[in-house]
């Protein structure tokens, strides 16, 4: 540790770190304060304490519907993305095959597509599919939640892989082999040994994919059709006068909720990982 910084250097780094934390959190805290401000203006001066914005959004059916849609989309897309991610990670870690680097490149490529371009590309895809189906079979699928889910799975998949692969690399292949030798078939080995060991990474991946999807605007804005999700609704309200304080109130709740969720999951994951590390060590020693 001494090699990395002198005492003064260390102090400066600590100060820099906390300054950055202030920079990151001050605007968020500010919004929290304004969610209790008794005025339709989100501006100073502060006009007194109120809870009415919190009451207001609870009775706003459009907002609640948007929240519900986001929850459904995020649940579906994170589940699919992580399931696909587990498969892909397993192959990437446990298998050798031709064109492996090309495949892994493709699997990770959504990481670097600007969401704007991808959203538009999906919009165009649905347009092309619908044109074809309408002309041939008279079917019209259109846009909507299914389209958002499809898009979010694509962009969440690389994150799922990046979260699961390192964990899978840590799991000793010998444990899986042991399971096989004890007569478990491939599926059983996977279900009884690999998957439990993977659980912390799977939970992390689900969480990342869920939060990514829940808050995603750019892709959703192009393919949502009439199924406005929470960020889309929020965006539309940001630009008109009346809805703002309500939006801030609900966002503060979502924000606090997601912070609690993230921290809780992270703590839980670390605990589980420590537990597993102990078991693994015991396993190897035993």
């Amino acid at each position: 540790m001494q090699a990395a910084a002198s005492t003064n250097g260390r102090r400066s780094l600590v100060a820099f770190y906390w300054l950055l934390v202030v920079f990151l959190y001050a605007p968020i805290l500010l919004l929290m304060i304004f969610s209790f401000n008794d005025s339709r203006d989100v501006a100073f001066p502060f006009r007194g304490f109120t809870l009415r914005w919190y009451h207001a959004f609870l009775t706003n059916p459009n907002l609640l519907a948007a929240l519900r849609r986001s929850a459904i989309v995020a649940t579906a897309s994170s589940a699919i993305a992580v399931a696909l991610g587990v498969l892909a990670s397993f192959v990437l870690v446990r298998r050798r095959f031709v064109a492996k680097s090309a495949v892994s490149g493709l699997l990770l490529s959504p990481l670097v597509i600007p969401y704007l371009v991808f959203g538009i590309a999906l919009l165009i895809l649905f347009r092309a599919v619908d044109t074809f189906l309408t002309n041939t079979m008279g079917i019209y699928i259109g846009l909507g939640m299914h389209a958002i889910v499809i898009g979010h799975v694509v962009v969440s998949l690389p994150y799922a892989i990046l979260t699961i692969v390192p964990r899978l690399e840590l799991i000793d292949i010998a444990l899986e082999e042991a399971g096989r030798d004890l007569g478990a078939n491939a599926r059983q080995t996977f279900r009884r040994i690999t998957l439990p060991l993977l659980t912390p990474a799977v939970v992390s991946a689900l969480l990342i994919a869920f939060t990514l999807s829940f808050d995603e605007y750019a892709i959703a804005s192009f393919v949502a059709g009439d199924a406005a999700t929470y960020p889309i609704y929020l965006y539309s309200q940001l630009r008109i006068r009346a809805g703002l304080p309500q939006m801030i109130a609900i966002s503060v709740l979502v924000l606090v909720g997601s912070m609690v969720l993230v921290v809780a999951t992270e703590v839980g994951r670390r605990r589980a990982e420590r537990q597993l590390a102990v078991e693994e060590t015991e396993g190897l020693l035993g």
Partner: protein
């Protein structure tokens, strides 16, 4: 779990071979994720390409395939190429600022902070997981003509109420500031991971050989952390060059970016052909960037485990 260990290690190689054979084929495992990406990621981009040359179009047209829009765009006559370079400048500025802010933090967390480093890291990352739009909105409240900063400036008598600091909101500055704010937490991670994986003994060896800390940093630590910095840089540059939400909320006319032009061509101008040219050009730029920086973005290096 502890019982099978001896057997496994005794004939591990044989077991592994069996293991590989009896699992459903690699193809079977790989096809769901690959198919998903081919159907919903690659094919859409191919369709965008078809739009860009007029092979497909929004409204029925008599016009056939034509590279006119591409030629126009690349010849430099198009106003959008100028806008592209403006956006590149803005994104580069954002990326540099973000790396400059995140590097000391990554360094501190990985090499200096000690036991609590994961808690401290989490503290930095959490804002990234909260509402993007709301974090942008917060800056409107801070930077507006009657926002927090201008209210303070006016109260202190530095300026009169009719002449607040104008460049704070609706300017390139605002877009750069807000984008930097939004991306810092995200970038701290890859930098942290690279520094965390450094072999400490090398640093200590440098110290033992009499190198000063600065010298050690510039000659050893920094060069070794460059892959993380590169990854961080690319991970900020790519989304910000395609950014359209933040400029539309806080950019005003001067903060208008390439992404806004693309978005408008699709939703307002209904000129999908030009919009597709602009989109695909962005994809090409990204591919070139990845060809250069691609080695930084591999499964292992960016792992957040």
């Amino acid at each position: 779990m502890s019982t099978g260990q001896a057997t496994a290690s005794s004939n591990g190689r044989e077991a592994r071979r069996r293991h590989l054979r009896t699992w459903p084929g690699t193809v079977g495992l790989l096809s769901p994720p690959l198919l998903w990406l081919i159907l919903f990621f690659l094919i859409p981009i191919v369709i965008v390409a078809a739009y860009s040359v007029g092979a497909l179009s929004l409204f029925p047209t008599t016009q056939g395939v034509s590279f006119f829009d591409w030629k126009h765009f690349l010849s430099g006559d198009s106003i959008y190429i100028g806008l592209f370079w403006k956006s590149v400048r803005m994104s580069l500025t954002v990326s540099v600022i973000v790396v400059l802010l995140a590097y000391p933090v990554g360094y501190f967390l990985a090499l200096v902070s000690g036991k609590r480093k994961y808690v401290l890291l989490l503290l930095i990352i959490v804002p990234f997981l909260t509402s993007y739009l709301l974090r942008v909105l917060a800056w409107k409240v801070i930077l507006g003509s009657e926002g927090i900063i201008n209210t303070a400036v006016v109260t202190l008598g530095l300026r009169d109420a009719d002449h607040p600091v104008q460049w704070l909101i609706y300017s390139q500055f605002t877009v750069i500031l807000v984008l930097a704010y939004v991306w810092v937490p995200f970038v701290a991670l890859p930098i942290f991971v690279t520094l965390e994986n450094l072999d400490r003994s090398i640093l200590e060896a440098a110290g033992d050989l009499g190198a000063s800390r600065w010298r050690t940093f510039w000659r050893v630590t920094f060069p070794m952390s460059l892959p993380g910095v590169g990854a961080a840089f690319v991970f900020v540059f790519i989304p910000t060059i395609g950014e359209f939400v933040t400029p539309s909320l806080v950019g005003g006319t001067s903060g208008f970016m390439y992404g806004n032009a693309i978005s408008d061509l699709f939703t307002q101008g209904l000129d999908w052909q030009t919009g597709s040219v602009l989109s695909l050009f962005l994809v090409v730029v990204v591919l070139v960037l990845m060809a250069i920086f691609g080695r930084f973005v591999q499964v292992r290096s960016a792992g957040a485990g």
